[in-house]
């Protein structure tokens, strides 16, 4: 009779990794990151896309090179090189993976967060995340149907060495731009949400704090008089009440560059070593009756909850949660579509970033799809706001569902 263990020693390792990442993410919020957004792969890649293309994609409120992403890539790369796990590989349907990354991002921006942030939102007391987490479970279940039917995007193989370095090289390039922008001035083409910037009238009137008082960023020549924004010609652009009611734009809320970078490095190393995944836990529990990976997201939730409580950031409820909306079906469906897409990719967006850093060029391509998808989703006006879903969001989710099922059906016929 075989001794069969359902929970192995890696459960403790993954639980510890989840606790660490969740706690660090909650702490990053106290250092300046947006609410319940200490770590969000979708949001952070979206902000990076906004930095480069924000002028075209209408991303003035979400444009900043998030150093956490740079840190995660470099940390994971370092850990992979040190343990001889770095291996340039690829060739498993890269174009399909690009499309899957694109779809993942579009759906995540309708939910307002990735599969990691869904857990972090719940860890901050945001109960609207529950609808998203139910969506994650639904997306996993749909993905499992196709995995059981033999779905595969085909085998990857060794590729030319430089292809393995695409994502680490991109991280290096981002670091140069981030340092240039923080220490000097941003490049002319770039869009940067001003630190602490608040959009009083989105796209038209923007103010930001400067040494205890507010100053006007936009439009030029306007000033603040008695808390109100007054145009050059003396007309009132926004009264004091409207100015006081605004909140900082997500892209303008950030921890210091060094803090974000070091936190990212630590998270990248831990994630590479433990193979932490935000959807794999539920998937493995249902598909192969293995529960170790589930301890990862469990730890993430506990770590974030405890640190949020300790720092006084925990706000339990459905209403008024930071960078979130309470459209029940919208949250459920968007996270369902995003998760289904991630299931077809073989891991959550966090894993895609980490694997890309290990030399997996297919994952790097998926991350590229996410970056382009973020720009497209904002350009097309499909991203949600705290007020709720955009008018065409349901249409977009419908189109993506059809495409994902088509990919899944076509991929299930292969047996290799």
């Amino acid at each position: 009779m075989r001794k069969r263990r359902v929970i192995g020693p890696t459960a403790a390792v993954l639980g510890g990794a989840g606790l660490f990442i969740g706690a660090l993410a909650a702490w990053l919020v106290s250092r300046g990151n947006p609410g319940n957004m200490g770590l969000c792969i979708a949001c952070f890649l979206r902000d990076i896309a906004g930095f480069f293309a924000g002028a075209v994609t209408n991303q003035a409120a979400v444009a900043y090179i998030r150093p956490e992403i740079i840190g995660i890539v470099l940390g994971a790369m370092g850990a992979a090189v040190a343990t001889r796990e770095f291996r340039p590989r690829g060739g498993s349907a890269p174009l399909v993976r690009f499309a899957l990354g694109f779809a993942f991002m579009s759906a995540a921006l309708i939910f307002l967060g990735c599969t990691v942030r869904a857990w972090l939102r719940l860890g901050g007391g945001d109960l609207t995340a529950l609808w998203g987490i139910l969506g994650i479970v639904a997306g996993v279940l749909v993905g499992i149907v196709f995995l059981k039917r033999g779905f595969s995007l085909g085998r990857a193989a060794a590729v030319a060495k430089p292809l393995g370095w695409v994502l680490p090289a991109l991280a290096g390039l981002l670091l140069v731009f981030a340092l240039m922008t923080t220490l000097g001035t941003k490049p002319g083409f770039a869009t940067l949400t001003p630190e602490g910037g608040r959009a009083v009238v989105p796209g038209e009137v923007v103010v930001k704090p400067d040494g205890g008082t507010l100053v006007v960023v936009k439009p030029e020549g306007a000033t603040i008089v008695g808390g109100a924004v007054i145009a050059q010609d003396g007309s009132v652009l926004a009264d004091a009440e409207a100015v006081a009611a605004t909140k900082p734009m997500p892209g303008g809320r950030r921890a210091a560059l060094a803090v974000s970078l070091l936190a990212g490095l630590a998270i990248g190393i831990v994630a590479q070593r433990t193979r932490f995944c935000s959807i794999g836990g539920i998937r493995d529990a249902i598909l192969v009756n293995r529960y170790d990976l589930l301890f990862g997201v469990g730890g993430l939730l506990v770590g974030a909850t405890v640190v949020n409580l300790l720092l006084g950031q925990y706000v339990l409820g459905f209403a008024g949660q930071p960078v979130a909306h309470n459209d029940v079906l919208g949250n459920f469906a968007a996270m369902g579509v995003a998760t289904f897409s991630a299931m077809l990719l073989g891991g959550c967006p966090f894993r895609q970033v980490v694997m890309g850093a290990e030399g997996d060029s297919d994952s790097a391509v998926a991350v590229g799809g996410m970056l382009v998808g973020a720009g497209f989703t904002h350009w097309a006006g499909l991203a949600s706001s705290p007020a709720g879903l955009a008018p065409n969001a349901w249409l977009a989710l419908g189109v993506m569902s059809v495409l994902l099922v088509a990919v899944a059906v076509l991929g299930s016929r292969k047996t290799a």
């Binding site: 001794k3 263990r5 001889r84 796990e85 995995l147 595969s152 193979r275 192969v288 170790d292 073989g346």
Partner: protein, 69 residues
């Protein structure tokens, strides 16, 4: 000895294939993997199923040999 090749497969395929291969409790099994994640997942599965596991890491791949203890 039973042999299994999970090289180049995305998650969770290596784990699914390994689990299938263990369905008839082979006394000895050799698994080829080429990513650290697939290696770690397969090794954890084999250990949990009561196998004594050894791993040989050559330049390009991991050769996992497991014997039922």
């Amino acid at each position: 000895m039973k042999e299994l090749d999970v090289r180049g497969l995305s998650c969770p395929m290596p784990l699914m294939r390994a689990k299938e291969a263990l369905a008839d409790s082979p006394g000895e099994i050799l698994v080829r993997a080429d990513s650290g994640t697939a290696k770690a997942n397969v090794v954890a599965l084999l250990a949990d199923e009561g196998y004594a596991v050894s791993v040989d890491h050559t330049g390009e791949e991991y050769v996992i040999i497991a014997k039922l203890a």
